[in-house]
Symmetry: D2
Subunit: 245 residues, 4 copies
């Protein structure tokens, strides 16, 4: 079985600019995610960051990417529109996309969703409990009934995204909110998974269950060798005699 080629894209500014975040993620958020994915079979992992040339997402990198992970927060506006257009086209052509936490406000996610992707938030480091609501979904393989995170930023409803095509996790927060935390979307020939946890000030991406979910998501979002999608003007009606009963 061929490896799934994953590229983890990270804004990588928090960790370089503020020591408190560097302490949590000394190898960067992308480094922690990459280490987590490497604990699981069948995944070939590379990383890319905002401040690399072409944001690390050249055509040759994207050509070699089955599933792209996306973590961004304070520099969404620095991502070139051209990159967003390229990534968007790739997703519709089948590349998987896993959008993490504050990536909800990334250009690529908003473009794919068609909504504001806005939400409620509170940075109080409170308890989050992610309940599995679709226990037969491949993204929930190997986890328990719920995943507990002692300290996370809160995201609350209303989350302005389209109704997910499959809803895998719903979060409970100590402060009284709920959130649709694991949302699957099919767009074009591509699959998109939004996964809520992962604030830069909490070691969420070192959690074994979170890592398992990310590995599952990579496998679920990998491209399928489906039919080439054909658009545009099609054959004249006169040639269709064969269709007659």
């Amino acid at each position: 079985m061929p490896q799934i080629r994953v590229t983890i894209w990270n804004e990588y500014r928090h960790e370089r600019e503020e020591e408190r975040f560097a302490k949590v993620y000394p190898e960067g958020i992308h480094g922690a995610i990459a280490a987590g994915l490497r604990e699981h079979d069948g995944l070939e992992v590379r990383t890319a960051t905002l401040d690399e040339p072409e944001h690390g997402l050249s055509d040759s990198v994207l050509d070699a990417t089955d599933v792209l992970f996306w973590w961004g927060h304070k520099a969404h506006g620095d991502v070139a529109d051209e990159t967003v257009v390229h990534v968007h086209a790739r997703v519709l052509d089948g590349m998987g996309l896993v959008v993490l936490h504050s990536g909800h406000f990334s250009k690529i996610f908003k473009r794919l969703m068609g909504t504001s992707c806005d939400l409620k938030w509170r940075a109080a480091g409170e308890r989050e409990r992610l309940w599995v609501v679709d226990p037969g979904h491949p993204i929930a393989a190997g986890v328990g009934e719920y995943i507990d995170l002692d300290h996370e930023e809160m995201y609350g409803e209303h989350f302005d995204v389209p109704p997910p095509d499959a809803l895998v996790f719903v979060s409970w927060f100590a402060g009284g909110e709920v959130f649709r935390s694991g949302c699957c979307y099919n767009r074009g020939a591509g699959k998109i998974f939004y996964f809520r946890p992962g604030h830069e000030s909490h070691p969420t991406y070192f959690n074994a269950d979170i890592r398992r979910v990310l590995a599952n998501a990579a496998r679920w979002a990998a491209p399928v060798a489906g039919p080439r999608r054909v658009f545009g003007n099609t054959q004249p009606l006169e040639t269709l005699e064969l269709l007659r009963p």
Copy 2:
């Protein structure tokens, strides 16, 4: 605009058999729901209970019912299978059905869902907060971002129902659980709404927001004058020449 004819069906055993429940619902749970619906326009309300002849659901009653509400708990097994078969057929033919709280285990709901409809529960009278996750849905009209209930029984995931065709409410519970509390289903020509709150020991059906949701649900679930559904053997192919371009 013609009135929507609602029949509220209640098991009506708790309130007759135990004083503590009679104190909460002196007119029965059905009585409280009926009073709540009567506060809203366009609804013509009657009630029916388990221990009436034919469970109060004769053909003539069902003929005059656009939307049936269903509250049951400890006597699901006493509902005649024949009644369930009749109600099931009516729903597929377009009658709306609003299933309340412990009605999740009713014969009619399980038959329509095709799953166990099982769930987790705890009778601790804890706080429930129902968040609206689909603010454009007609069932959410006139309510705020959430509905707070100071004391309710907890229902928790996993809730073994099909993925809802629309998810309107998600509940947060003080004890750490979440629940898909407002679930819409389209089955045949009929619409079904499951609404979680309403334990017999709490005055939930006197809450103005809950009453508003129930009135909205009655309007949403009312039958639509759609096409008659035609099944079975159809015209021979030879007669289809008109379809040729």
Copy 3:
């Protein structure tokens, strides 16, 4: 019951520039749609066209619009991006949007869908049969099992849109194609209906069933007085003591 205020937006170039289209739609496509809606109760109808100032979609017009219909084809690029941004925000805030036929490639529809919205087509004037696949849906009220159109442009799968939140019509074409012709979407607090038929060279908008579907769609897409959607930073955790059990 208050009237639903509908604004029908039409590109209105085909009918002014080519006599063969003017013959089919002497009052413009918008004129035919408006006349059709006026045959039905509860709708207050106005029109707007591309070459009016602000494309006829000033703030005051949009303020007075519950549901916007959109027909465009060859001049999608002439619609100002600013207008698209305004309409997009209105839809997320609850304004209904009914996108017609070649409007599948309009800026506003592509922005809301997040996909290419591409499809297959053939202009052979062949027979289209629109089957109702969701007979309980309000948009199917009053029509039969299917709607026959003797001559229409063909649109075929793959139609690159998100999986619809409800699928009401599927078209059969004489030349061998199918198409998801009536697609409902919920986005933000707004509702969107895409309806396939309506090529400029066929008198589709004079068909009584098509007119009925459009009137149904206007009613279905009308805004709901749901909760105000609240986003952003929320109250500090310390104030949440009331939530404790």
Copy 4:
């Protein structure tokens, strides 16, 4: 990677009782399906038929079944209710189920769907064209834009099933009908795929594309090692202090 264990259940009466069907399927319909699956990797295939003891579906067989295929037609009523109850429970616990053609009226499919599962039909051996409408779905891997079958029984809408959780194929028929031919459902921890073609009088199960779809369906429907689903009364609220922020 462990093999997926598939059991193909066939009514196996047509082929034994009428020579014209035996000619099409000399090894039985189950034999042709089994041969088709064996052309694909990763599947371990066995068969079972109605007239074997326990219909060939003893506990030990079901214990060794990851995905059950179901073909039945004229003897649905001969399947023991007890068997249906067992299979139903297995599906909710995660066993995959692939229901074929006239299996739409099987007890197990109706029980899982909760609807009549009725449809329109015509036995004219007309052309069917199955269009892929979800090209990124794993069940569509390796097939083209559509699958052409020269001669098949027609099934037409309205098909009285719940809205599918994913719609993969829509059929076009020469006689003017359409049909939702490839429907995915998630029920409990299990996955169900309904696939329309496969009348006993046509050699559909020898078609290479149909066989590929069936193999894909087996892989898609295979159980996921998700969380054990826990139901019933849960821990008392007093023990939940750890949940406090």
